[in-house]
């Protein structure tokens, strides 16, 4: 029994239960119970913000770790017969590490913007700003997390190729490093967009104007 078919089976069971429950509610006139609006209104923005922070750092670290393992294994393998590649190829590892740093920077920036507000306030504007901030932080965290995840994997695979090519022919390393720089740039794009997303965030009780 392969893992793929097990996951497929579990997903199938879940979807069946969900469909049956949904159809039951619709057909018995209780469709209003499936209320997404209620869910969005009742959950405080703190949840979204913190999930965003968690995603930013954790997905970035997953991407960086994946990249480091991919590159590291190839450097070790190639370094047996060509020990000269050991030191130069640590640059690839540094590129992967940079991806994790982007994640932690954004996580710190987002968490610095978190503030308490009075939930019983009747000022619509304050409520709106705070809810918006929650969603914006979640979005920014997701943006940075996923883009760093794939960036890390990509830098890792290119770094592995660079190590093996360097072991055969040392003039190739610098050329492949250029490819790695481009791969690393896409993580930076994620950070930029994330920063833009949280640039308008205003939490707290004293929302100006």
């Amino acid at each position: 029994m392969s893992y793929g078919s097990m996951y497929g089976g579990v997903l199938g069971i879940f979807l069946t239960i969900w469909t049956i429950t949904g159809l039951y509610y619709i057909l018995s006139g209780q469709g209003y119970r499936y209320d997404i609006g209620w869910f969005l209104e009742q959950t405080p923005p703190y949840m979204w913000a913190n999930i965003g922070i968690g995603l930013a750092i954790s997905l970035s670290v997953v991407g960086a770790a994946w990249g480091i393992l991919t590159t590291g294994a190839s450097i070790i393998g190639g370094g047996v017969k060509a020990p000269r590649i050991k030191t130069k190829n640590l640059i690839s590892i540094i590129f992967c590490e940079a991806v994790a740093i982007y994640g932690i920077i954004l996580a710190i920036v987002i968490s610095n913007l978190l503030e308490k507000y009075d939930e019983t306030t009747t000022n619509i504007k304050i409520k709106q700003y705070n809810y918006y901030s929650g969603y914006a932080m979640f979005g920014a965290g997701l943006t940075v997390g996923i883009s760093n995840l794939v960036c890390g994997i990509s830098v890792g695979i290119v770094g592995s190729g660079a190590a093996l090519a360097d072991a055969q022919n040392s003039s190739l390393f610098v050329k492949i490093l250029i490819v790695e720089i481009f791969a690393s740039a896409i993580g930076l794009f994620g950070v930029i967009v994330g920063i833009l997303q949280i640039s308008k965030v205003k939490m707290g009780d004293k929302v100006a104007d």
Binding site: W66, L69, G77, G78, L164
Partner: protein, 348 residues
């Protein structure tokens, strides 16, 4: 098993294998070797390559068979190092590669036993990569059925014996048929295994194994002209995992002479140039050499992709070709007959 997950389990071994591949002799090394006058010069030149001082402890008058043994020993050490460090599915893959050598060893032992040679003389002649525990017990069998029940049922080759257990005694003709039947079953099984791995491994390995299957079909056909092998028996020996299956194989089964084999090869773009101009005249390469050349080319292209198992298979085949080259050059040097010394097949 794709680019993303490959390095978790196999990255180190792939890097190591590519490092070994970087140590394969280049054209400049061959030029140096060809200019040697005696075998001691050869040993000196090989010391500056990846081989190092592998001949250092050998007593002074070197012979070609000693060089052959030592070359093989180095290859076996490298291969076994990789096999021991591997995990599934790479370990099964590397085991599959050794089954080919096991088949050769079994046939060698059976043939030797038929000629009343002592089993202890034959064991050192076996290829070390294909050794298995029951090797010493092969001489007790007289028919294939006994051989199977007593010895081979515990080896990994047991499923390949399905087609060739019969009540006929082991004799010269049958031994070759047994060898080819076993090899056919092994190749098809290996091909199936590689197809289940997926990814670049399937692409690279299936092409390599298809070429091996077709090459065997051609060689079996050409070698069977003038023997008592019937056409039906011959058709049963062709591995079916190559490009020739099914039409080419059907035509090959009907062929009676070399020209007809050439006609079959003309239908296939990859094999037509191999048969053109192949022959035994001076200045022409033999068909066998051309097959080796094509194999070298296919194996070289296996290194163009990353994250697949084909590099291990290709490395082994290229190293074997290098051994054959060095032995050819050594023979020419030892016999001082340098006319055809340049007929080695350059790899890089």
């Amino acid at each position: 098993m794709n680019s993303v997950n490959f390095n978790i389990n196999f990255g180190y071994l792939e890097g190591l294998c590519r490092g070994f591949k970087g140590g394969i002799l280049k054209q400049t090394d061959y030029i140096n070797l060809v200019q040697c006058e005696i075998l001691e010069d050869l040993k000196l030149h090989l010391q500056s390559t990846d081989y190092g001082s592998f001949l250092a402890n050998e007593p002074s008058p070197l012979s070609v068979s000693v060089i052959d043994d030592k070359l093989k020993e180095k290859l076996v050490i490298e291969f076994q190092h990789m096999r021991i460090h591997s995990v599934e599915p790479l370990s099964t893959f590397l085991d599959f590669i050794t089954y080919g050598y096991m088949i050769d060893n079994i046939i060698l032992l059976i043939t030797g036993t038929l000629h009343q040679r002592d089993i202890r003389e034959l064991i050192p002649k076996c290829h070390p990569l294909g050794s298995f525990e029951q090797m010493e017990a092969i001489h007790i069998a007289n028919t294939p059925a006994e051989l199977y029940n007593a010895v081979l049922v515990d080896t990994p080759l047991a499923p390949y014996f399905m087609d060739c257990i019969s009540e006929q005694d082991l004799d010269e003709m049958n031994i070759e048929i047994i060898r080819n039947t076993l090899y056919k079953a092994y190749l098809e099984d290996f091909y199936k295994f590689c197809s289940t791995i997926g990814g670049s491994t399937t692409e690279v390995m299936c092409e390599a194994l298809a070429f091996e299957a077709d090459r065997r079909a051609f060689i079996i056909t050409i070698n069977s002209f003038g023997t008592e092998l019937t056409k039906d028996d011959r058709a049963k020996l062709y591995p079916r995992c190559g490009k020739l299956h099914p039409d080419g194989l059907a035509k090959l089964a009907q062929a009676d002479e070399y020209e007809q084999v050439k006609v079959v090869a003309d239908y296939y773009g990859e094999y037509k140039p191999l048969f053109d101009g192949a022959g035994t005249g001076p200045g022409e390469k033999t068909l066998e050499d051309r097959f080796f050349e094509k194999e070298v080319k296919i194996m070289m292209s296996a290194f163009m992709q990353q994250f697949h198992f084909g590099v291990f298979y290709a490395y082994l085949k290229l190293k074997e070709q290098e051994c054959r080259n060095i032995i050819w050059i050594s023979e020419c040097v030892a016999q001082k007959h340098k006319a055809k010394i340049d007929s080695y097949i350059p790899i890089f």
